[in-house]
């Protein structure tokens, strides 16, 4: 099976033999990443759907790989993961899968930006404080991804939701929207557009005149701030 077969529609063009070789030699990664994400997302997803969604990520990885920065499997696994999460968000796989994909993407984005933070002093106390900050951020990212989304009239009358939990959820979303409204302008704009208006992250970064990595750092700062605001309510 060659890389040509994995080129998404509209992107078919001659494939570099080196790219083709990387794709062929690492096709196993598609299934590995897909199985892991299937376990995390659950719902009505099928493994073959996820493999198919991830194929574009593997091809992108082969095309843009820089051996100076990481091993190919590590680099490609990330690209495949993002391709699958974006694909699940884009396509209809049920509300649970959509919310979980959004939450995983939010946590992943927060984690990637956090790796660029300055070094901390080598003391156990400093590590413990950093751990609390990181876990608080990942928890906030997951909660934002699970719950912050465009208004959904169906959700207000979800027959599966009992009145008490629906009331708690509405209160949480109200608190979250208030915390987002209190963020500095760029952080607020990024969070609102991405989570409440469901716009793609790269498109928002472009609109705000930011590189994707800079936008990811601003996203991480916003998530940190939301974690603190929600914890103090």
């Amino acid at each position: 099976v060659s890389a040509k077969l994995d080129v998404p529609p509209g992107r078919a063009k001659a494939v570099d033999p080196a790219v083709d070789r990387l794709v062929r030699e690492h096709r196993w990664l598609l299934r590995t990443v897909a199985i892991k994400l299937l376990h995390r997302i659950g719902g009505r997803l099928e493994i073959d759907d996820l493999v198919s969604l991830g194929a574009g990520g593997l091809l992108d990885a082969a095309r843009t790989y820089d051996p100076q920065r990481a091993t190919f499997p590590v680099y490609a696994a990330k690209k495949i993961k993002w391709a699958i999460l974006d694909g699940v968000r884009r396509e209809t796989h049920g509300r649970t899968a959509l919310c979980r994909a959004r939450a995983l993407a939010a946590s992943e984005r927060f984690g990637e930006a956090s790796a660029d933070e300055p070094a901390i002093p080598p003391t156990q106390e400093a590590y413990q404080k950093r751990l609390q900050t990181l876990l608080g951020g990942h928890a906030a990212a997951l909660a934002v991804g699970l719950t912050a989304r465009p208004e959904d009239p169906d959700e207000q009358t979800d027959p599966a939701g009992d009145p008490e939990s629906m009331a708690l959820r509405r209160a949480h979303i109200g608190g979250l929207r208030a915390a987002v409204a209190a963020l500095p302008d760029r952080q607020r704009s990024l969070i609102e557009q991405h989570y409440f208006e469901d716009r793609p992250f790269g498109e928002i970064a472009l609109g705000l005149g930011l590189s994707k990595s800079r936008a990811s750092r601003i996203h991480a700062q916003a998530i940190d701030a939301l974690a603190k605001a929600l914890a103090s309510e």
């Binding site: 080598p122 156990q124 609390q132 914890a231």
Partner: protein, 79 residues
């Protein structure tokens, strides 16, 4: 659940991180978030590195950092 061999102190930190959401989200969502946080302490490169440095252990009388933590710190400096 993915609690197998989970350090109890790390489990406490995970539960503390989830505390703000306890009365706001459903039990299924909270359980799913807890699983993801535990996975992240093992699989997210930065988080797992910080967990290794933070986890409560017996302290060497010399006050030296454990070997793996010294390696992490060397990594911090070269980053």
């Amino acid at each position: 659940m993915t609690d197998t061999h989970l350090d109890p102190w790390v489990a406490e930190q995970v539960d503390a991180a989830l505390a703000p959401y306890r009365d706001r989200l459903g039990t299924e969502e909270l359980a799913w978030m807890r699983e993801r946080l535990i996975e992240a302490t093992r699989e997210d490169p930065e988080l797992s590195r910080v967990v290794r440095g933070a986890v409560v252990r017996e302290v060497d009388e010399s006050g030296s950092l454990p070997r793996d933590r010294q390696d992490d710190d060397a990594g911090d400096k070269s980053a």
